[in-house]
Amino acid sequence: MLEIVGELPMNRREAIKSLGIALGLSLSPALVRALSNPELSVHEKPLDQQYAKLIEVLSELVIPTTDTPGAIAAGVPEFINGIVSNWYTPAERDIFLSGLVDLNAEAQQQYGAPYVDLTEGQQILLLEAAELAASEYQSDDGMAMMLNLDEDLSPFFIKLKELVIVGYYTSEIGASQELNYNPMPMSYKGDIPLTDVGRAWAVDGPL
């Protein structure tokens, strides 16, 4: 994975290069530059410690542990760290981090404690409020089939939910324990009872 999480070695550029070589990726000089440009990543350590626990709590609220592992076990917080630190534009990062700050401020104001220290019921109420605040937002890329290269200024809750869902269902745990994943099906059966498969496919179709 090219998500840069955790402590990076001294030479950021070299670290990224060796990651790329290990993965067999052909990294163009420009990609190495883009990924290793400190200006593109505001946070030298991915995200401040104060956010780490909060992101864990929020990830698990969106996709909790049930009869299968939840978001934390699937590595979603690390995925979110990688995206927010190294993939988001400054404006997108600002929306996301401001959303975290706002949640904590609401927690302090309403319950006199940081969000992570609230009861699950209180956490859910505040996150539902964030969802309500985002409900007016209309995305225009809902059915986009192509890569969308544009900056996405959707509000905090939409960003959080998308990150947790993508991070979870593209993880090994989410794809193969929660859903069905078969990289080498060997046949195509077009019309079979759902009960033969059981759960939805994690990777679906020719894309």
Binding site: M1, L2, E3, G24, L25, S26, S28, L31, A34, L40, V62, I63, P64, T66, I83, W87, T89, I124, S139, G142, M146, L147, N148, L149, K161, E162, I165, V166, G167, Y169, T170, S171, E172, E178, L179, Y181, P183, M184, P185, M186, S187, Y188, K189, G190, D191, I192, P193, L194, T195, D196, V197, R199, A200, W201, A202, V203, D204, G205, P206, L207
Partner: protein
């Protein structure tokens, strides 16, 4: 060591057409040189993104936006582009063309041995006489110098080698191929077929025909239904020149393949009236080189081949090689493309599928088949590629409100059925739609950059309205709900079916090539890629490029042996 620079035949390009030229010419005993401008790529070994699970894909497949905007703004518009196969694609920054913001034209290109045959959609359909006679029938463009009967045996020849999955349907507008067993429709598609065919008796919903093996064939493995062919297939289950024609050519011992070889121009000898040399710049060393061959086959893609001809000027051909007609660079076509309609199909909630089928369903042309339809305000027609699938987590994440266990359980089950129909419409050949060489901008090799002057015309716009209307009607017939219909055609070039610019014709005063893809009055020059096309049909063109290439090779070899070339 002396560099061998003299060959029986030189083939420019190693993609769908070039691979076929190399195979046919080497198998006829000719010593062949392929000049490929792209980088070397080894079949199998260099498919580094093949079978990569999502959790090992950089940013889980999210686009590297800064990089793509900076270096791949054109290529990244394709669905097939991504981190798992970016190394197959052209770098737009390194290899630019002139884009007119008021008249955009998308030029998708590969930059490796194998060319776009690695990346193509693999749909293969024979053209019919409705296509070959279209220009003559309605007067748009010049008549094709060939008909279906001239190409039919070559379609068979090609299909038997590449392997085509499909079902015989006996439709006059879409002749059957030599088929391997068809792939199966899913429950949603079967329902759509039955609903559309009963509501619209003249329409057919058929299984897609694709250059994918449903059983082992000619030493290549059958499809294992992993899904994304365009990341490369080391089993060789889809046709690419890498999996099929190039290995066959190598096996003869007659092939020399030179990657990193940018052809800048061809030299014309006014005395012999033949091509006397091919000028090449090595993309790595920038060294200039010169190769000679008795035959020259241009298979560098529609735009690439014509760029070479336009850049080959001489006293005899001051406006570009083989351009005594003035047609060179003109009559550029693509297919109109874009969403026809997308909607939810209720029911069948107990039916599902397994495996990732790299193929779609197809609705062959049903408009203006036997003369002009009374309710059509356009000429020619269109077909649809389509599919049905059940909603998955990706499609449904924004439809299910809330978070927590209920969201997780909801995404665990496949959602309702959805169906999509994408229209591909025939484009008229028009002089004003053209490519040209820019007067001052050159690329890193000093070769003038290509510019485009292309706009959809009234006929394409009216056809597009009908695509939208008819696709909505068909989804409605299948009980579709929440139907979204595309209102706009994609920018030209977006179908990646660019054709024309060196068209075939009877008359040297209005065409570039004769009925054998041979340049009028330049006996040893053949152009057998999309540039040769005289009209665009509405069906996917690659199979026809392959058949025309094999046919032209047969002709050229016979002429060479007879001493007439």
């Amino acid at each position: 060591m002396t560099l061998d620079t003299d060959f029986d035949a030189i083939v420019v390009g190693s993609g769908i057409s070039g691979g076929w030229a190399a195979k046919e010419l080497t198998e006829a005993g000719l010593k062949v040189l392929i000049l490929e401008r792209g980088k070397p790529l080894e079949h199998g070994k260099d498919y580094t993104g093949e079978h990569t699970p999502p959790w090992e894909t950089p940013f889980r497949g999210k686009p590297l936006r800064d990089l793509y905007k900076e270096e791949y703004p054109i290529q990244s518009t394709s669905y097939a582009f991504g981190e798992r196969n970016r190394h197959f694609w052209n770098n737009d920054k390194e290899n630019p063309y002139v884009q007119n913001p008021d008249k955009p034209f998308l030029w998708n290109r590969a930059d490796v041995v194998g060319g776009r045959s690695l990346l193509w959609g693999r749909q293969v359909y024979r053209w019919s006489d409705i296509d070959f006679a279209a220009n003559k029938r309605d007067g748009h463009g010049i008549d094709w110098p060939i008909r279906y009967k001239d190409v039919a045996p070559w379609y068979s020849h090609v299909e038997k080698f590449i392997g085509v999955t499909g079902q015989a349907e006996n439709l006059p507008q879409l002749p059957d191929s030599e088929f391997l067993p068809p792939m199966e429709m899913n429950a949603g598609e079967k329902h759509l077929k039955s609903a559309v065919e009963s509501s619209f008796p003249e329409r057919n919903v058929i299984m897609g025909r694709a250059a994918i093996l449903t059983q082992p064939h000619n030493g290549r493995g059958a499809c294992h239904y992993c899904g994304p062919c365009h990341q490369g297939c080391s089993a060789g289950a889809y046709f690419s020149s890498q999996s099929s024609t190039l290995p066959a050519a190598v096996k003869t011992g007659n092939l020399t393949l030179r990657p990193n070889s940018v052809v800048s121009s061809l030299e014309h000898d006014p005395v012999s009236k033949k091509i006397s040399a091919v000028n090449v710049i090595d993309s790595q060393t920038k060294e200039s080189m010169r190769f000679t061959g008795k035959l020259v086959f241009l298979c560098g893609s529609t735009i690439g081949s014509t760029q070479i001809l336009l850049n080959s000027q001489s006293e005899a051909y001051p406006n570009g090689l083989a351009n005594q007609s003035g047609a060179l660079g003109h009559y550029l076509m693509d297919h109109t493309n874009g969403l026809g309609a997308f909607g939810m199909i209720p029911g069948m909630m107990d039916r599902y599928y397994s495996g990732n089928r790299p193929n779609n369903i197809y609705i062959p042309r049903f408009r203006n088949l036997d003369g002009q339809d009374s309710d059509a305000n356009f000429v020619r027609g269109y077909g649809f590629q389509g599919l049905a699938m059940r909603g998955n987590w990706s499609l449904q994440q924004k439809m299910i409100p809330g978070f927590g266990a209920h969201l997780k359980y909801a995404l665990r089950q496949p959602g309702p059925w959805f169906a999509a129909l994408m229209g591909f419409g025939e484009t008229l050949p028009q002089y004003k739609n053209s490519m040209l060489l820019h007067s001052s901008k050159v690329d890193r090799f000093g070769i003038p950059q290509v510019a485009f002057d292309f706009e959809w015309s009234e006929n394409e716009n009216k056809m597009r309205e009908d695509v939208s209307k008819q696709s909505v009607a068909m989804l409605k017939a299948a009980g579709g709900q929440f139907i979204i219909s595309g209102q706009e055609i994609e920018a030209p070039g977006g179908a990646i079916h660019e054709m024309g610019t060196a068209r075939m014709g009877h008359d040297p005063s209005e065409s570039v090539l004769n009925a054998h893809n041979q340049a009028h009055n330049i006996d040893n020059l053949f152009v057998t890629d999309g540039a040769a096309m005289t009209s665009s049909s509405c069906v996917n063109p690659s199979l026809t490029y392959m058949a025309l290439t094999a046919r032209a090779c047969d002709y050229a070899v016979k002429q060479l042996r007879a001493g007439t070339i």
